[in-house]
């Protein structure tokens, strides 16, 4: 038959799907649009929007100090979001980063407090390893419940988050409470366990490189490694995965474990670089904010880092709007909501910006994420 003899019809190097610059900039445009609408609301509240936004911008980027703060917050947000990304790619709709973050923070503190004095070079990674293990275990609870018993992960992770935070409450009030205080925190962890600061007079710490490394590793895992490929196939089409001989349950669990490890690592970084002890309120909802970050980042590692940076800047900057421009905190929250809506809404311009069929963007899960795939359960 002729088919076998038909010549190859493509160019030497197959063109890869690309994100044109305009699409990368789209979220930024959306943020600006949301801020414009926000300006109207701020003016309606009888405040000066220019002053408010000046405070926001200066708070996030105004000086070396404030940009360091943005980076300090970027760190846990990005790590959690990368974790969420991996889980979503495997079709596991985890809301559980919050609980895994807490467990990671707990484990890092525990290791730092209980392990005999060791040099930094050993203790710092040891704490992180402990945190990653704890995050992994907590994530695997939901993973196993899903794979073995078919328990929906949305419900189980929400429940596990509540349980984790109550567990931490119990520990910092009781067994782990700092001796001689009646406050809800543990003792300060030894200096050997601290992540070093890298810029004088700021809180910028060595952990800021972790998200970059993690993003690279996540990319390598998902797109360069066999196991990651299996996870992605499972997330995109679990029936096909099964037919291709992929161990579907194992692939999901693998991705879930990685996602838990990353959230746990985020918890360790907060402890070892920022708080230096476990206390109530360290999470600041990072685990929940990570979900829109990963989705706005199209579940692509690079874009997720960018989204995390935007969210971090907004978070840090908006704290300044309250104190510097008297913008009440409800307005700050409202503004954050507007920004998320505008960013996600701007997605609809993507097809208009490119000829839709001819060049589909690299496969993303943003439009058709299967949130509840019961077929993953064995």
């Amino acid at each position: 038959m002729t088919a076998k003899r038909s010549p190859p019809t493509f160019r030497k190097v197959a063109p890869r799907a690309r994100w044109p610059l305009i699409e990368v900039l789209l979220p930024v445009v959306a943020v600006v649009a949301a801020l414009l609408l926000g300006a109207l609301i701020i003016a309606f509240a009888g405040l000066n929007p220019l002053r408010a936004y000046a405070a926001l911008a200066r708070g996030a980027f105004g000086s070396v100090g404030s940009f360091s703060e943005t980076l300090v917050r970027f760190c846990p947000l990005a790590l959690c979001a990368l974790g969420v990304l991996v889980a979503f790619r495997a079709g596991f709709f985890s809301i559980g980063a919050d609980g895994q973050f807490y467990l990671g923070a707990l484990a890092a503190t525990f290791v730092a407090l209980k392990v005999p004095a060791l040099p930094s070079i050993v203790l710092v990674p040891l704490c992180m390893a402990g945190a990653m293990a704890a995050g992994t275990l907590w994530a695997l609870v939901a993973g196993l419940l899903k794979v073995r018993l078919g328990v929906n992960e949305v419900v189980s992770t929400i429940m596990l988050n509540a349980i984790a935070s109550l567990l931490i409450d119990f520990l910092v009030r009781g067994p782990l409470r700092a001796p001689g205080t009646d406050l809800q925190y543990t003792a300060v962890i030894p200096k050997f366990a601290w992540l070093p600061r890298i810029l004088p007079h700021t809180r910028l710490h060595a952990g800021v490189f972790l998200p970059l490394i993690a993003a690279l590793l996540v990319y390598i895992f998902l797109w360069r490694m066999s196991a990651g490929f299996d996870s992605r196939v499972t997330g995109a089409n679990s029936v096909a995965a099964r037919h291709a001989g992929i161990n579907v349950g194992g692939s999901v669990l693998g991705a879930v474990a990685i996602s838990g490890a990353l959230a746990g690592l985020a918890g360790a970084v907060e402890i070892q670089a920022v708080f230096h002890r476990l206390q109530a309120g360290i999470g600041s909802d990072y685990g929940y904010t990570a979900i829109p970050i990963a989705l706005v980042g199209k579940t692509l590692p690079g874009a997720t880092l960018l989204a995390a940076l935007i969210f971090a800047a907004l978070g840090v900057g908006s704290a300044m709007m309250q104190i510097k421009a008297s913008v009440p905190s409800p307005l700050v929250v409202l503004l954050q909501g507007l920004i998320i809506l505008f960013v996600v809404g701007s997605d609809m311009f993507v097809p208009k910006l490119r000829k839709w069929r001819q060049t589909l963007p690299p496969e993303t899960t943003s439009g058709n994420l299967p949130p509840m795939d019961p077929s993953i359960a064995e």
């Binding site: 078919g150 419900v155 409800p330 307005l331 439009g367 949130p371």
Partner: protein, 313 residues
């Protein structure tokens, strides 16, 4: 320990279970309809909060609870409309839209409340709603005070699951709605207006979420407090999943969760030798265990969270 279980089946416990389930069931009934149309609305929390504020404002300024409930429902529906615009018309990712709406609602309700009442120490209050005992039924021993000596919204909440069941399975509109949630392209191919049904289903969910919020501010309490829903909307969403997307299922799930909460509060005050944090965990643990126990097929609507595009099959 024994002591505390002995008091579990008491009237007070059962009545508390019913009361605690009421807002959950109202919101979950609405969310069930929304999800059966293929729309995953995770912004129930925000819609409840909006309903709580406007329910309170309506009742406060008009002096009538009914006006308040109406206002609460409209406020929930309004947010649902916004959600629909993004999630259905623009086809943005439903989960992100919902998270955005939740933040928006949290900010907006607090902002408006402060704008209207300032940062006063004395929270404005309305006349609380009173129970409407049903004449003869409320005198039945045990059952009477538990089931028939409640407020109107509680009766309504427990009427919704059967009504939703009738709607879904016995009416043309319900059939179309289920079809849209299971296979939107097929529904579209026989002339069912997929987008319109999804809009309506989401708005219905918003109406009930708003009513659930208004229940909190006008019936359970008689005032509005910032962020007063405190996560109830999320519980409502999990109840729909826990109830396996069936009307009977969500009624049972809501009662289970409400019952666990009621029991938790009783276990605490009777002091058993378990750290408090673990008692407070009880409802969450119970939900996990119950879910793992019912190893049954998930009946998630096939196209939940998948936007509809006609030309792209």
């Amino acid at each position: 320990m024994l002591n505390s279980f002995a008091l579990a089946p008491s009237i007070g416990f059962l009545a508390a279970t019913v009361r605690l389930s009421t807002p959950l069931l109202l919101a979950a009934s609405g969310e069930l309809v929304t999800e059966r149309a293929g729309v995953l609305n995770l912004s129930i929390e925000g819609m409840m909060l909006n309903g709580a504020l406007f329910g309170f404002l309506g009742a406060y300024f008009s002096g009538s609870l009914f006006v308040g409930w109406l206002a609460g429902m409209l406020a929930g529906a309004l947010l649902a409309l916004l959600f629909s615009f993004f999630a259905i018309t623009l086809r943005s990712h439903q989960v992100i839209v919902a998270l955005g709406i939740n933040l928006l609602a949290l900010g907006e309700t607090s902002f408006l409340y402060r704008k209207i009442f300032g940062l006063a120490t004395l929270t404005p209050q309305i006349k609380p709603a009173l129970p409407h005992p049903i004449p003869t039924l409320s005198h039945i021993p045990l059952l009477g005070p538990v089931l028939f000596d409640q407020t109107i919204l509680t009766y309504a909440a427990f009427l919704f699951p059967p009504l939703v069941w009738i709607f879904l399975y016995k009416t043309p509109a319900g059939r179309s709605l289920r079809a849209v949630g299971e296979n939107a392209v097929a529904a579209d191919s026989v002339g069912v207006d997929v987008q319109c049904i999804r809009y309506l289903a989401t708005i219905f969910g918003g109406l009930l979420a708003g009513l659930a919020g208004a229940y909190l501010s006008t019936v359970a309490l008689n005032l509005f407090l910032e962020n007063m829903t405190g996560g109830a909307g999320w519980i409502a969403v999990t109840i729909v999943i826990f109830g396996n997307w069936s009307p009977l299922g969500i009624a049972l799930a809501a009662l289970t969760f409400g019952g666990a909460e009621a029991l938790q509060l009783r276990l605490q005050s009777s002091g058993i030798g378990v750290p408090r944090e673990f008692i407070v965990m009880f409802p969450y643990l119970l939900t996990l265990v119950a879910l793992s126990g019912f190893v049954k097929r998930s009946k998630s609507p096939a196209q939940l969270c998948i936007p509809f595009i006609r030309s792209f099959q």
